[in-house]
């Protein structure tokens, strides 16, 4: 593959595309697929074939369009977005290409949900067919890789990433450029790149959407990283629970190998790169980098003390670069447009955009990409469209089991790494769950503690025993049998776990408890002193519900 050949593929694809005067895009990412979007696409295909307009009207399966709660989504070249489409609607939609839009299915796109977004990571999703490399190449795909390989030195690539201010999107927010630079300076016979696609946080589906909607974007980011740090082998550690993402990744790897963008001497340079998939097997702790490495090596996913950091001694004892899916997906645009361009977006310390999975008790649930620094109020009430059924907002939970619950007093806080940490939560991978008055915060804390207790790998005692004890106390609180002394013990345990656990799972496990104890102390008090649950959730005996 030479740059000229790549340009040729892009031109052919664009010429092919210009043959069609009409286009219908159907979302075939997991959310819409589970609302039968495949049958909608098939019906549209049949309708177009039946009318004999197949040579000028293209029906294409594309990635996620964001508003998952209204799926299946269909967009047309007439500029209209349709929601909740059924197979039977296909004649009307094909009719609408030349005439009036089908008003009963129209989904308004001039609302904040679409207008307030800024798409960098998701720029291709909803526009390209995730199963065709040509479509990605025609959308400027792999041009950043060519630019890096032919015009930039390894040092320049790292400098550009450093200049962009990009920070790890997996949750901790470690500066990406610094990580790359450390790995590139480490000495080893073989270096590795690992893409962490073990998206374990309950309530988060950003990485899954990126992998399903634009898998080549992630591969390109990994290739550039490999070139920059001097690695030649890479693994994508992806959850086995995401069969569609796995299928599309396998397909993407095969296509990239076929056109010579993966393998030996890429673009006629000395750079060669091989990517392989490793399937996770359902262990939350494997999101921690040393546990993830153990799992790739075929062992139980238990973390080990750091240092040495994976950047020095990682996979098979060699220097290893581990980044999250979204981090890799940001690389190509940074190389293409320059680090300075990326650094203009966002806040002083948190640059760029962040993809959030907005879910829970909000009107619009789905995937959104917003610039860093947007306020929580805008997220929940403008983009999210507020709380349904006229209920009251209570809290927003970010960062999954390692994050915290932010009360209404935090609504005007900007969403960036520092502000969230200061408020007792974390950015996390991007799950954002909105809760209203029908949720009991003690119950929520108990839910997350149950999760951490089950997922604790058992290697270090503070986490293994501490999460069990905390869960026991929270259960007592929710059953109205706890005392003030228990509450004090709970606070002590929070402190203990935070400071003595081996890895991030144990260290951050108390966060949901700490944040609810701080912001919703009156709810704990009501459970303990008045023996009642203000939200009416606790105390309900198992089995008697709804």
């Amino acid at each position: 593959m030479t740059p000229e050949e790549l340009e040729q593929i892009a031109e052919d694809e664009r010429a092919e595309r210009s043959r069609y005067t009409e286009r219908i895009h159907v979302c075939v990412a997991a959310g819409c697929l589970s609302c039968q979007s495949q049958s909608v696409k098939d019906a549209l295909d049949q309708e177009v074939t039946k009318r004999g307009t197949k040579d000028r009207c293209q029906v294409k399966g594309v990635g996620c369009m964001g508003l998952c709660s209204e799926g299946p989504l269909v967009s047309t070249s007439a500029g209209v977005l349709y929601k909740k489409v059924e197979a039977a609607d296909s004649p009307a939609i094909v009719d609408s290409l030349a005439g009036e839009a089908v008003s009963r299915l129209v989904c308004a796109t001039d609302v904040p949900f679409f207008q307030r977004q800024k798409k960098i990571v998701l720029e291709n999703s909803g526009n390209i067919d995730p199963e065709r490399i040509e479509d990605y190449i025609a959308a400027d795909g792999y041009s950043a890789l060519i630019k890096a390989l032919t015009e930039m030195s390894q040092r320049e690539v790292i400098d550009e990433v450093t200049k962009s201010g990009l920070r790890g999107r997996g949750g901790a927010g470690y500066p990406t450029g610094l990580k790359w630079s450390t790995v590139s300076k480490s000495v080893g016979t073989q270096k590795y790149v690992i893409c962490n696609a073990d998206e374990g946080d309950p309530g988060a589906f950003m990485d899954r959407s990126v992998l399903e909607s634009d898998p080549h974007r992630v591969l390109e980011g990994m290739l550039i990283a490999g070139y920059a740090v001097g690695a030649t082998e890479a693994y994508i550690y992806v959850r086995a629970e995401y069969p569609l993402a796995i299928k599309r990744l396998r397909n993407a790897i095969r296509q990239a190998e076929r056109v010579g963008l993966l393998g030996a001497s890429i673009c006629g340079t000395r750079f060669s790169f091989r990517v392989d998939l490793r399937l996770g097997a359902g262990a939350f702790v494997c999101g921690e980098e040393t546990a993830l490495i153990a799992s790739v090596e075929g062992k139980r996913g238990t973390p080990r003390p750091r240092p040495p950091y994976p950047a020095m001694e990682g996979l098979f004892g060699q220097p290893t670069l581990i980044n999250n899916v979204e981090t890799f997906a940001n690389i190509a645009p940074i190389i293409r447009n320059g680090g300075a361009w990326y650094a203009q977006i966002g806040t002083e310390k948190s640059k760029g955009t962040k993809v959030f999975a907005l879910a829970g008790r909000v009107e619009n649930t789905g995937l959104v990409e917003v610039p860093m620094g947007i306020s929580l109020r805008e997220m929940v009430f403008e983009i999210g469209g507020g709380i349904p059924e006229g209920r009251q907002f209570k809290a927003v939970q970010t960062g999954g089991p390692s994050g915290g619950c932010l009360p209404s007093t935090c609504l005007d806080m900007p969403v960036d790494y520092e502000s969230l940490a200061k408020a007792g939560s974390i950015m996390g991978s991007g799950g954002m769950i909105v809760m209203d008055e029908s949720s009991c915060m003690v119950d929520v804390a108990k839910y997350f503690m149950d999760f951490c207790m089950t997922e604790s790998c058992g290697k270090c005692i503070p986490c293994r025993v501490g999460t069990y004890q905390m869960h026991r106390i929270l259960t007592a609180v929710s059953q109205m049998t706890a005392t003030q002394q228990d509450l004090k013990m709970l606070a002590d345990l929070c402190d203990l776990l935070k400071h003595t656990s081996l890895c991030g799972l144990g260290q951050s496990a108390p966060n949901p408890v700490v944040s609810t104890l701080k912001s919703f102390a009156e709810e704990y008090k009501a459970h303990i002193e008045e023996h009642k649950c203000p939200a009416g959730v606790c105390g309900r005996q198992e089995g008697e519900s709804a």
Partner: protein
């Protein structure tokens, strides 16, 4: 120096062992391929039993204890055969907030089993998932690989009735 070790013989004549062997070969018969191999075994046989674990451990030259340790560490692996149908209830945060516990209660009561168990007539297995990533459609349930969104207690009961009375 690794001494010559005879290649272990599959436990029986089942053709599916060829697929397992292919994965073992692709991993270069190295211990690092343990998880990948167990994935293949579970994919073709549905679960991991004692003889499969023993065969994989011998083929990859790892102690049986390590193979067993890995198989029991990860939630995805199951050592018991599943029922004819499986019902997975998502317990992710979004689903939890939107009523997954009530769904689970109803199903447990109807089937008389807990998550991870199979009904005595081997018809239905009940499982819970940490998160399916279908949070936009909460609460979500997977009936035999098919994801259903915004599920109500009545809907899940109705679906299970079809299975149990089929």
């Amino acid at each position: 120096m690794a001494s010559y070790v005879a290649k272990p013989v599959p436990p029986n004549q089942d053709k599916r062992w060829k697929l397992v062997d292919a994965t073992i070969r692709r991993q270069g018969q190295q211990s690092r391929g343990l998880i990948e191999t167990l994935h293949t075994v579970q994919e073709v046989f549905g679960y991991l039993d004692g003889q499969a674990l023993r065969y994989v451990a011998m083929s990859l030259r790892v102690p049986l204890s390590r193979a067993y340790g890995v198989a029991t560490f990860y939630h995805f692996f199951t050592l018991k055969p599943a029922g004819e149908h499986t019902c997975v209830i998502c317990m992710g945060t979004a689903c939890y907030i939107k009523g997954a516990p009530q769904l689970l209660d109803a199903v447990q009561k109807d089937l008389g089993i807990h998550p991870g168990e199979t009904t005595s007539d081997k018809k239905v297995s009940l499982l819970t998932a940490r998160c399916l990533g279908s949070c936009g459609l909460a609460p979500a349930v997977v009936y035999d690989q098919e994801v259903a969104g915004k599920v109500s207690t009545a809907a899940v009961r109705e679906h299970l009735r079809k299975w149990t009375h089929a």
